[in-house]
Amino acid sequence: MEDKKLVEVQHLKEYFPVKGERPFERKYVKAVDDISFYIRKGETFGLVGESGCGKTTAGRTILRLYEPTSGKIFYDGKDITHVNMLPYRRKMQIVFQDPYASLDPRMTVGDIIGEAIDIHHLAANSKERRDRIVELLSLVGLNTEHANRYPHEFSGGQRQRVGIARALAVDPEFIVCDEPVSALDVSIQAQVVNMFEELQERLGLTYLFIAHNLSVVKHISSRIGVMYLGKMMELADSYELTFHSVHPYTRSLISAIPIADPKTARAAQRIVLKGDVPSPVDPPSGCRFRTRCPYADERCAAEEPEWREVSPGHFAACHHLDRVKDEKPAIG
């Protein structure tokens, strides 16, 4: 892994307009609300958090599939916040969660992959095109005869492989993987996770890996960001985040994850959070986590905690990091 930043966002915001309660009232879903992080070339950066916290929106805004409300996006050192994205489309790709919905059912797998090659004129003639399709299929563990079949003839795991082959067709450098294994059975999940790792080694790819399953994210990522209601709560290297988290939300998230080991599960200290995630239209004042946070006090309601570096490469936003630190984490 190099130390060079491939992707960076600074104070990124993405607000979606929604109807208010009164006529003509304008309100916004603050789906992503001022987040900053970078991804090094060749690494996997994981983004976790509960449903609706803004992971998908962050991924899509980085690819400029949504125009950012404010903030800056850099790719390979260049500010791409407002540029024409055409030259970057090839370098930046996306793989979706639902392998069923993201492939056109009327096209053969060969044509699905071929389409991407055609759009970017990556093959000089039909032989080159065919060879490239075969190469891509074998790269994702499928074989030549699969090219003539239709998506419905494949299992979920195989369809996800087709989606990845399609993303790889244009030789990308960076792939946003949005819940790419969430819809798969555990035994198949492992096959696909391993494939992501192998492809990264072979092709030097950089991933933004989005998932709500922290165990999978920790397995595949070198660094992880934890989001809650559009904000980044904590960010650290994945070992540090798992074993030395400092933020109350990260700690409760970790402690809520069911442990597939009966003895550890029986011994674990659970922090069961009360209540539900509030609406992103009217998020709580101050710290967004305060309505569910066991440490919250008046200051948390009045002031938004600052995003600061607590140790090299380890960031968090919370007023009471000192109090949290004195307590034993769920695991360690």
């Binding site: 555990v186 790792e197 798992t242 442990i259 597939a260 080991d261 009966p262 550890t264 009360k274």
Partner: protein, 335 residues
Amino acid sequence: MSEKLVDIQNEKLSFFTPAGEVKALNDVSLYIRPGEVLGIVGESGSGKSVTAYSLMGLTAHPGRLTGGDIYFNGHHINKMTEKEMRRIRGNEVSIIFQDPMTSLNPVYTIGNQIREGILLHTKRSEKQANERACELLRLVGINEPEKRMKQYPHELSGGMRQRVMIAIALACEPKLLIADEPTTALDVTIQAQILELMMSLKEKLDMSIIIITHDLGVVAGMCDRIAVMYAGKVVECGTTDEIFYQPSHEYTKGLLRSIPNLYEKDHKKLVPIQGLPVDLLDLPEGCPFATRCPNCMKVCMKHMPEYTDLSDNHYSACWLLDKEKFMKKQRGALT
């Protein structure tokens, strides 16, 4: 504690579809004792839901039991009429589903739906039913039940809806609660709330629980025993510790190797189970796991392995476990 609340013996069930006979259950044997929490795990399509529904006499068309016996609390379920079955369903066993939105009726208030169950299954007046409904909502951790009763399902969050489903399921004070993926659609912090609620209710109400899930973490934390299903068969069943620390079936072992462990300090590569799930329309002759099994032998392709008892609670169907039976079959298979 030794009597059995549920006893399923060699259940076989098929769906007779235009494409052919889908052999959904091929020899399911399971029991559950009073007060016990049993987990059923296995991949999608392995027959977890079909097993649970058949226990309630709820098998969807074109499905039909083709063999075996199901006993619930002394009743011989598969010999009962629909009318007798309905009484059991309302009074002794309840079920909660994965997606509370599809099982709650969107046009009725929460209060209406809870009261309905109470009036149907217990002898209570409207007013008593109302009080009981509030009591149940409080029991599942819903504050201000009077206010909630006037709301419609879409006005509640996912976790809240699942609590309401549990309250409805508890209305008849069941001896057995079947939870089919009750938290799969929920966030982990909400999942933790619901699982904790289920466990505390089990203690308070002294019922048995069957929890169906694909999450090995969920079963590790809450079950007394676990049944592992593959292609419509219980391939291994044992106490939670036996399944996790002495797994004996190759599928169980594969499953445990393929999940990432959050608590692992260094990065180990996952070991996936190779190949694809079986086609239930075209089941192989022998062990259904044979084509994906790293230790598959000749006998496995030809003959279905019988159960081997490994302890009082632990049994497993794999040829590797019983040398004697295996040698006999192997000789047969070779000639």
